[in-house]
C-alpha cells in the first residue's frame, strides 16, 4: 500500500462520512454544511488526480456559489434553528435501504474494483486535466455536448421560474 492510496482513502473516508451526514442530519443547516465538506474533499480528490481545473471549478461553483445559495434559501425559509423539522415515523425502509446500498457497494467492489485494481494500470495523457486541454477539448471535440448542456441549464432556469413565479 503506497502513500497515494493512503491519502486517497483518507479523503474518500471523509467524503463518505460527510455524504452520510448530509442524509442523516435532521437540521438542514447541518446537512448543508456536511455537503460543503463533501464538496471540498471531492475537490481535493480531483487535485490528487491532477485534475486541477475540475477541482477549482468544484470549489468555485459548488462550494462557492451553489452552497451559498442553498444556505441562503434555508435561512430565508427559516428552516434552520428549529431542530427536527423533518420528523419521520419509525420505519424499516431506511434499514433495508442501507442494507441494499451496502449490498450494491459490495457487489461492485468485489466484482469490479478489486479485480481492476489488481490488473489495470492507471493511464492518462501528460496534459490531462490542464485548463488548456479542457478548454480546447470543450470547444472542439465536445462542442456539441457543451452547447447541449447550455440548453439543459436553460431548461432548468425556465423551469424554476415557471414553478416559482407568483402570478398564475
Amino acid at each position: 500500500m503506497d502513500t497515494n492510496l493512503i491519502v486517497f482513502l483518507a479523503m474518500a473516508l471523509v467524503a463518505a462520512v460527510a455524504a452520510v451526514g448530509v442524509v442523516a442530519m435532521n437540521n438542514p443547516v447541518r446537512s448543508a454544511l456536511c455537503l460543503v465538506v463533501n464538496f471540498f474533499v471531492l475537490a481535493f480528490v480531483y487535485f490528487s488526480l491532477r485534475a486541477e481545473l475540475m477541482g477549482i471549478s468544484q470549489i468555485l461553483v459548488y462550494t462557492g456559489a451553489i452552497m451559498v445559495l442553498f444556505l441562503f434559501v434555508i435561512m430565508l425559509l427559516n428552516l434552520g434553528g428549529r431542530g427536527g423539522t423533518l420528523e419521520e415515523r419509525p420505519d424499516v425502509k431506511p434499514g433495508i435501504g442501507v442494507g441494499l446500498g451496502i449490498a450494491l457497494f459490495a457487489l461492485i467492489a468485489f466484482q469490479v474494483l478489486f479485480p481492476l485494481q489488481a490488473s489495470a494500470t492507471p493511464r492518462a495523457p501528460d496534459d490531462y486535466g490542464l485548463p488548456q486541454t479542457v478548454g480546447r477539448n470543450l470547444f472542439t471535440t465536445y462542442v456539441l455536448p457543451f452547447e447541449l448542456a447550455s440548453v439543459l441549464l436553460l431548461v432548468g432556469i425556465v423551469g424554476a421560474i415557471l414553478l416559482a413565479k407568483r402570478k398564475m
Binding site: Y142, L144, L152, L163
Partner: protein
C-alpha cells in the same frame, strides 16, 4: 490532431444535427415571444412551435436515403432508425401541442413557457436517439427529464401535480445517477464515450475490463429501464401519469417512451457482444413488465392511472420486439418495434387527447365515473376513444392489432415462444380494463349531484384526435409499404 498538438475542430454535417438543434432553437425563440408579449394569448407561440416542428420534420424527412454516417466528432449519427424515431418524436410533439392549449386554458394554467419546455424536451429526446455517444445520450436524457419534471408540476395549485413532479424528480435523479455511474464504468473500461468502443473493449478479452464493462452496461440499463418503465423500475409511472397535466402525460407516455426505447436500442446494439448475459435478464424483465402492468391495471379506477399501467405493459411488448430482433438479427428486423412505437404513440396520444376533454374550469376529473356521459357531450370524441381503445386492445384492423401481431410473429421467429405466449395472454387480460374505459365513456351520467365535467371540444383537440384516429386506422391498410420503408427497401 492539428500541428500544435490539439484536437482538430470536428467536421460538421449540419443537416444531421439540424432537426434537434432547430427544435431547441425554436423553443428559445418561442420563449422570447413569451417574454416580450407576456400577456397576449399563446397563439403566436403555438403557431411558431408548430411551424418549427414542421420545418424540423422536413429536414428530418429529406435525410431518408442519404448515406448513414456520423458527424460532430461522432456525436451525432444518422441512420434509418434514428430518422424514423426523430420524425415520430416531432410528430408526437406536434400532436401534443395541438390539443394542449385548449386543455391548459380549461385547466387555468395557460403558461406560455409550456411550449418552449415541450420543444426542449423533444429536442432532448431527439438527440438521445440520434447519437451513439453516451455523453450526448445522458445530456439528452437530462434535457428531456428536467423539462418533464417541470411540466409535470405545472399545475401548481393541485397537490397531486406537485406530488407527481417531485416524485418524478427524485426517482429520476436516482435513476440518472445509475446511468451516470454506468457511463463512468464504461469510460473506465473503454477510454471513451462512444458506444462502438464497447465491442472493441470487450474483444480485448481482459477479464477485469469485461467485469467493468458489464457492470457499466448494467447500470446504464437500469437508468434506461427507469425511463422506459420496465418492472421493477416502473413504479413512478402511474403516480406521475395521474398527477401530471393530461397533455404532459400524453407527451410523457408517447415521447419519453420513444426516446427511451430508441436509446435502449442503441445501447443494446452496442452491447450485443454481452448478449448471453443480458438476454435472460431482459427476458424476465419483459415477462414481469407485461404481466404486472396488465394485472395491476385491472384494479385501477382512474383513467390516467390505468393508461399509466397500460404504458408499462406496452413497454413490455416493445421490449419483446427488441429482444426478438437481438436474438436473431438476421431473421427479425426492427420493423415491428418501430411499427409498434408508431402505433402506440398514436393511440396513446389519441386516448389522452380525449381524456383531456374532462377538464373544465380549472378542475379535472379523470376517474372512470368522471367520463360518464362523454358520448352525449362529445359523441365524436367518444367514438374516437373507442377506436383508440380498440387499437390498444389490438382489434383488427387497427394499428395496435398489426403491431402486436408483428411482435408476436417476430417473437416466434426468434425462438422466444414463451414471450409470445405471455404477450398473447396479456393482450387478453388487457381487454378487461380497456373496455372499462370505453364503458365509462358510454354509460349515462349517473347522478346530478356530481355532474360530470367537460370542456368544449376545441379545434386543436379535434385535429389531434383526428390525426391519431386516421393514423391508427389508416396505417393498417399500408402495413406492407410501411414495413418495406422501415426496412429501407
Amino acid at each position: 490532431m492539428t500541428p500544435n498538438g490539439y484536437p482538430a475542430p470536428p467536421s460538421i454535417d449540419w443537416l444531421m444535427t439540424m432537426p434537434a438543434l432547430l427544435v431547441a432553437g425554436v423553443g428559445i425563440v418561442a420563449l422570447m415571444v413569451e417574454m416580450f408579449w407576456p400577456r397576449r394569448s399563446n397563439s403566436a407561440i403555438i403557431f411558431l412551435s408548430l411551424i418549427g416542428l414542421a420545418v424540423a420534420g422536413y429536414f428530418t424527412a429529406i435525410q431518408f436515403g442519404m448515406p448513414d454516417g456520423e458527424t460532430f466528432a461522432r456525436m451525432i449519427v444518422r441512420d434509418r432508425l434514428g430518422l424514423v424515431l426523430q420524425l415520430l418524436l416531432i410528430g408526437i410533439a406536434f400532436i401534443s401541442i395541438l390539443f394542449s392549449e385548449g386543455y391548459l386554458r380549461e385547466k387555468r394554467i395557460p403558461f406560455g413557457e409550456f411550449y418552449p419546455l415541450l420543444l426542449w424536451a423533444t429536442s432532448g429526446g431527439m438527440v438521445m436517439i440520434a447519437t451513439k455517444s453516451l455523453l450526448i445520450q445522458f445530456i439528452g436524457l437530462e434535457i428531456l427529464s428536467i423539462a418533464l419534471y417541470v411540466m409535470a408540476g405545472m399545475s401548481r395549485n393541485e397537490a397531486k401535480s406537485e406530488e407527481s413532479a417531485i416524485k418524478y424528480f427524485l426517482l429520476g435523479a436516482f435513476a440518472s445517477s445509475f446511468f451516470l455511474y454506468g457511463i463512468a464504468f464504461v469510460y473506465g473500461a473503454t477510454g471513451g464515450l462512444h458506444l462502438d468502443l464497447i465491442a472493441e473493449a470487450w474483444k480485448a478479452d481482459d477479464p477485469s475490463m469485461r467485469n467493468l464493462l458489464l457492470f457499466g452496461f448494467g447500470l446504464i440499463l437500469i437508468g434506461l429501464s427507469f425511463k422506459s418503465a420496465f418492472v421493477p423500475f416502473h413504479q413512478w409511472t402511474p403516480d406521475v401519469y395521474q398527477g401530471a397535466p393530461t397533455n404532459v402525460t400524453a407527451f410523457m407516455a408517447a415521447g419519453s417512451k420513444v426516446a427511451a426505447i430508441g436509446a435502449l436500442f442503441r445501447v443494446l446494439e452496442a452491447s450485443g457482444v454481452m448478449q448471453e448475459f443480458w438476454m435472460p435478464a431482459l427476458f424476465w424483465i419483459a415477462i414481469f413488465t407485461m404481466t404486472l402492468g396488465n394485472l395491476v391495471a385491472c384494479t385501477q379506477r382512474d383513467v390516467k392511472r390505468t393508461l399509466g399501467y397500460s404504458s408499462i405493459a406496452n413497454a413490455g411488448y416493445l421490449l419483446v420486439a427488441l429482444l426478438a430482433h437481438f436474438k436473431s438479427p438476421d431473421k427479425v428486423g426492427l420493423q415491428a418495434t418501430i411499427f409498434y412505437l408508431v402505433a402506440y404513440s398514436l393511440m396513446t396520444l389519441g386516448a389522452f387527447a380525449v381524456v383531456s376533454l374532462a377538464a373544465k374550469g380549472g378542475k379535472e376529473g379523470t376517474r372512470f365515473h368522471d367520463l360518464a356521459g362523454l358520448y352525449r357531450r362529445a359523441p365524436v370524441a367518444a367514438g374516437l376513444l373507442v377506436v383508440f381503445v380498440a387499437s390498444l386492445i389490438g382489434i383488427p384492423p387497427t394499428a395496435g392489432f398489426f403491431g402486436k401481431y408483428f411482435i408476436f410473429l417476430d417473437a416466434l421467429q426468434a425462438d422466444l415462444a414463451p414471450l409470445a405466449i405471455v404477450l398473447a395472454v396479456n393482450s387478453a387480460i388487457s381487454i378487461y380494463y380497456y373496455l372499462g374505459i370505453v364503458r365509462a365513456a358510454f354509460v349515462a351520467e349517473d347522478s346530478p349531484v356530481r355532474p360530470a365535467m367537460s370542456g368544449p371540444v376545441t379545434f386543436g383537440n379535434s385535429l389531434a384526435t383526428a390525426i391519431c384516429a386516421v393514423g391508427v386506422l389508416g396505417i393498417s391498410f399500408v402495413t406492407a409499404p410501411v414495413f418495406e420503408f422501415l426496412a429501407g427497401r
